[in-house]
Amino acid sequence: MNLFAWIGRWFLEGASHVGRLTYFVLEAIRGLGEVRIWWPRMMVEAWNIGAGSLFIVLLISAFAGAVTALQTGYQFTGSIPYYVVGTLVVSSIILELGPVLTALILAGRIGARYAAELGTMRVTEQIDALESLGRSPASHLVIPRVLAGLLMIPALTVLANLSGILSGWVSVKAVLPVTDSDFIYGAQYYWRPWDAWYSVIKAFFFAGSITIISCYMGFNTQQGAEGVGRSTTTAVVTSSVLILVLDTVLTRLLLNQ
């Protein structure tokens, strides 16, 4: 295939997605007025995200905290004071591992589910049916999912941070002669309240990218079961890449002091 034609087609397709995504988001914003419709559905979705993802999020962040602590212990030379371990574990978890790992797990769990659900609804004409009944798919299907994600993913991130720190704290004592007071001292020594805000702000942006991308992909599904599979994969891959891009951009913007 001609390279220029391929680039041109790729560019046009990208521009088309940007246009449709913008329209999709504007439609969702327009539907915000129908609180009576989206509020009960949002509560159900929030429960599904929160209760359904809590175990896996805590488990993975606990392992991340433990591995961080064990690797810190492995690299310790003895010339560095032990309390620095507390600083390293807490900072690594709160600034990076907690929000990013949680977002990547939820991109797989929530993003795939949303894209598959809405994709199936699209190919079985359920979304068309909703429109034919004069009802807004945005307020029935999109807003509850997006808002539930924006509410629950930062909350899960806070819990993931706590789980990772506690696990790191316990684990580091197995490999280094660190006391509880050493760990707490180190954790507090470089602590800035802004770090906690930074973690939650990142989680909020990640939540937006997971929910909006997966709903958009599901909504634009075509061609039956194969299309649903394609939308689901694209939703997970796109939101995962976007999480990493946003991670870099937000780090540059928010920690640029």
């Binding site: 199936t120 609804m121 079985t124 004409e125 359920q126 068309d128 049916a129 909703l130 429109e131 034919s132 009944l133 004069g134 009802r135």
Partner: protein, 250 residues
Amino acid sequence: MIELYGLHKAFGKQVVLDRVDFEVREGETVALLGPSGTGKSVLLKHIIGLIHPDRGTVIVDGKDVNTLKRKELSELRSRIGYVFQNGALFDSMTVFENVRLGITDENKYRDLEYCRQRIAECIRLVNLPADTIEKYPAELSGGMRKRVGIARAIAGNPKYLLYDEPTSGLDPVNADIIDGLVQRLDDELGVTSVMVTHDVRGAFRVADRLALLSEGRIVMQGTPQEFLDSKNPKVREFLERDFDNPSFAA
């Protein structure tokens, strides 16, 4: 009245509708016939504004569907019941909740007692047992799902009913039941109906008027008798298999 003028729609390079003119007068039942994949469902979705034409006009009750504002389109849709090919029922909702969504008047929708009565009435009209309302779509047979789809479409007392292949995928017995139901609803509710189908036998039984769509164009429109008398080769070709079928005469 539903009027379509010069309707043209293409998906990529594939032209699905090519300058189609089509009218449905108040109170009549029109069957839109044609082989699978000739754009019948696409035409039907234009009437309710689910698909927008590349060119041409769709007018319902004197209003151009494609120029309507969001609220006007929503109001128009509340007067049209659409029966989807496979029911398009919401999997996560019970039959009760599915049919309730068809009650398009917001005040009535919020009145739970009215909803209970109306849903029970609609379920009775489509000949389903009363306890069906507690079931989920996955617990119903194909024929029952289609009937729930019809119940949802009539729940809002529509002026127009659009049926997209209401008998496709059904065995002859269930297809006859659905045809009878369409006919009875037209008589009892006095609605204007458009039925997209490739089932010639059912169309002849139900419709006041027929239209044959082939290769993106309306080949012929007329009464069932005019179709039977037609010498148009495309009409003959389409009807022939059913003429040869002994059940057609019955």
